[in-house]
Amino acid sequence: MSSTPDPRIPVTVNGEARTVPEGYPLLAVLKDLEIDPAEATGVAVAINESVIRRQDWADVTLAEEDTVEIIQAQQGG
């Protein structure tokens, strides 16, 4: 085992509790969900109830206890 363990932080992604490495990029969260930021249509992200504009996705990393919502438009009435 490494003497400097990778520090992990708790976050919530779409209602699911997860731990991610400190400084985990938002783009990595999207990749985990198989969302390609260049291709995905009808997708949006909010962290702690603030919408993150698409052009800012690459600049955002997660902080401890962040609540991330990633949504997609689907068929509905």
């Binding site: 992604v13 779409n14 209602g15 699911e16 985990d32 969900l33 198989e34 969302i35 249509t41 009808g42 997708v43 949006a44 992200v45 909010a46 109830e49 919408v51 504009r53 698409r54 919502e69 990633i70 949504i71 997609q72 438009a73 689907q74 068929q75 509905g76 009435g77």
Partner: protein, 273 residues
Amino acid sequence: MADDVHTNGAVASATDETLTIGDRDFSSRLIVGTSRYPNPQVMLDALEATGTELVTVAIRRVNVEDPAPESHLDLLRRGGYEILPNTAGCYTAREAVLVAQLAREALDTDLIKLEVIGDDETLMPDVEQLLDAAKTLVDDGFTVLAYANDDPITCRKLANLGCAAVMPLGSPIGSGMGLVNPYNLRIIREVVEDTPLIVDAGIGTASDAVTAMELGYDGVLLNTAIAEAQHPVQMAHAMRLAVESGRRAHRAGRIPRRLYAQASSPTEGHVGD
């Protein structure tokens, strides 16, 4: 607007003002949902048969366990439809406002069909939360189409808040029960004069849509009545005709109801007089 032009007894043209919602004009007065069709091709064929220009979509979390669901958004956009995202499934103003803001970012639109429901069984709006969300979203620059109870007071409040359209239910969502309280819908039309009114929810068959339009409503929003019909595309066409028929009848002005008969044929010159 010009009156209908009659040629040899047939209506050659029937100009009507467009349905204006916010800064958008629609020639179709039918708004159609995109859920519950047997398959995507039936959905596309049905939407085309309705003649609609505005279709609703839902906003849902991307599933962590089963990512990248198939999106039909591209199909809808290729079909040329304007997209109306909804806030279905929201129980509080706070949730609905966040979903609306996410929808605006995801779809690059200020249109929002605002639904704030009180419980899962009735899917009836929670009026307190609905009004709160409507005010916040109107102030934030959204073009709000508010799904409402068939309550004249609530509908008037939503109109006064600046909603671009107020959409009272005919009966519970997906119930197909039609317009269960047409008298309330009439009163709503009288108290909400200047804001478009659309019957949203409960339409079961074409006659329900006709009745809504005859009551002076500006449009109809429906989904299940088409999507779950035995023949969705045929029902879609029927709904298009129903909305157009009801609209024309409303504009034409119906005769008053009379308790006793009134002869259509001349009352003078009967044989035997």
